[in-house]
C-alpha cells in the first residue's frame, strides 16, 4: 500500500464478505424501516450501514495515476524564484502528497520537511510549538529556505 502511495499513485483498497441469510433478513427489515423514518433517518441509516460494513476480508488494492499538467514544475519554479510562496491543498494520503510535491518541483531533498499528523487540537498545538523551536534553530543559517509543512487531520481538504 505504502509503495503505491510512494510512487504518487491514487490507491484504493478492496474488501468483501459473505452475509448470512438470517442476519441479512433482520438487517434488511431494519434498514427498510430506517429509510422511511421521518426523524434521524440519515443517522439511523448510517448506523445500519456501519453494522453490516465490518469484519471484511481483504481482496486487493488498485493504483491509478493522475499525470501532472505540462510545465507545472517550471511554473512552480518561476513562482518560487519570484519569492511567491506556493501552497498546495489536497486530500491525498501523505506519501502521495509528498511524492507529487517532489515531481512538480514544489519540494526538493534540501528542504527541511515537517509532517504534522494530528487529530486533536492539543496535539496540534504542541507539534507547532516544537516545529517553531526547530525552525528558530535552523533559520539562523538557512535563512533563504522555505519551510513546507504538511498539515493533515481527520478533516480532509479536497
Amino acid at each position: 500500500m505504502k509503495v503505491f502511495g510512494c510512487d504518487g499513485l491514487r490507491t484504493l483498497v478492496l474488501a468483501e464478505k459473505t452475509i448470512e441469510h438470517t442476519f441479512f433478513e433482520v438487517w434488511r427489515r431494519n434498514y427498510e424501516y430506517a429509510k422511511n423514518l421521518l426523524e434521524n433517518r440519515s443517522e439511523k441509516m448510517k448506523e445500519l450501514q456501519e453494522e453490516i460494513e465490518k469484519d471484511l476480508t481483504l481482496v486487493g488494492a488498485t493504483a491509478i495515476e493522475d499525470k501532472l499538467q505540462d510545465d507545472v514544475d517550471t511554473t512552480i519554479q518561476s513562482l518560487r524564484t519570484a519569492g511567491i510562496k506556493v501552497w498546495v491543498l489536497t486530500g491525498d494520503k501523505i506519501e502521495t502528497a509528498v511524492n507529487v510535491g517532489f515531481s512538480c518541483g514544489l519540494l526538493d531533498s534540501d528542504l527541511n520537511r515537517f509532517i504534522i499528523e494530528d487529530k486533536t487540537e492539543g496535539q496540534l498545538e504542541e507539534n507547532f510549538k516544537r516545529i517553531q523551536e526547530e525552525i528558530d534553530k535552523v533559520f539562523f543559517y538557512r535563512i533563504y529556505s522555505f519551510y513546507h509543512i504538511f498539515c493533515y487531520s481527520g478533516n480532509v481538504l479536497f
Partner: protein, 209 residues
C-alpha cells in the same frame, strides 16, 4: 491567451503588473489544477502479488493494445497478469479481484447501438471499470429486473442488486450488496486504505494472505 493572429493579447491596463507583483502566496488545489484529472489505471495488487510495474525492456511488456478491448483511462502494460489469468489453478483470486472492480462502483452503462458507453461521476471510477473490461470482465449495466449484468470471459452473468451505499467524503468508501446465482449474499466495499483497514477482520485477512 491565444497566440494565433485572430485573437492577439490586448493590454487594457498596465497597473495589473504592479498588482501581480504584490502576490505573496499562491494557494493551489491539486487534482485538475497541478494534475490533468485524467486518471489512468496503473497497478493492481491481489493477495500480496502486484501487477503493473514493468519496464518497457521486459519481454512481458505490452507494447500495443490490438488484442485487447478498446478502453479509455487504462495504461496497464504487464502481461504477467494475463498469464496468471489463463492459468486455471492460480487464477481464482485474481478473477475475484477483477469481478470486484466490474461490479462495485457507481458507473452507469448506456447502450449506444451495440457498444456500451459508461457514464461516471469521477474519472477514477471510469478507470477501474474500464480496467475490468480490459481484462475481460465487462460491466453491461443493470436490467429492468434490477440485475447487474457482467460479461465474464465471454459469458453473460447476472447478479441480483440489493443495496448500494454511495461514496462520500465522510464515508470514503463505496459498498454494494448483491446476491449471486447460488443465492449467496455478498458485500463488496472499496475505499481509502485508512478507512478499510479499520473494517477488516484481521484474523480472516491474515489467513488469506
Amino acid at each position: 491567451m491565444n497566440s494565433d493572429d485572430s485573437n492577439p493579447l490586448d493590454v487594457h491596463t498596465s497597473s495589473l503588473n504592479e498588482e501581480l507583483g504584490q502576490i505573496e502566496y499562491v494557494f493551489s488545489d491539486k487534482t485538475g489544477t497541478l494534475t490533468c484529472n485524467k486518471m489512468d489505471f496503473k497497478r493492481i495488487s491481489i493477495k500480496g502479488k502486484s501487477y503493473g510495474k514493468i519496464d518497457p525492456t521486459n519481454p512481458k511488456y505490452i507494447n500495443d493494445y490490438k488484442d485487447f478491448p478498446v478502453v479509455t483511462n487504462v495504461d496497464f502494460r504487464d502481461r504477467n497478469l494475463f498469464d496468471m489469468l489463463n492459468n486455471k489453478e492460480s487464477s481464482e483470486d485474481l478473477k475475484k479481484g477483477l469481478f470486484f472492480l466490474s461490479i462495485c462502483h457507481s458507473v452507469v452503462a448506456e447502450m449506444n447501438g451495440n457498444a456500451t458507453v459508461y457514464n461516471a461521476s469521477s474519472p477514477d471510477e471510469l478507470a477501474l471499470v474500464n480496467f475490468a473490461k480490459f481484462c475481460g470482465f465487462e460491466f453491461k449495466g443493470i436490467n429492468e429486473n434490477r440485475e447487474i449484468m457482467i460479461n465474464m470471459e465471454n459469458k453473460e452473468n447476472t447478479f441480483k442488486f440489493l443495496y448500494e451505499f454511495e461514496f462520500n467524503s465522510d464515508r470514503k468508501r463505496h459498498s454494494i450488496i448483491f446476491e449471486d446465482h447460488k443465492r449467496e449474499i455478498h458485500l463488496f466495499c472499496k475505499g481509502a486504505d485508512s478507512v478499510i483497514e479499520s473494517l477488516l477482520d484481521m484474523e480472516q485477512t491474515k489467513k488469506n494472505q
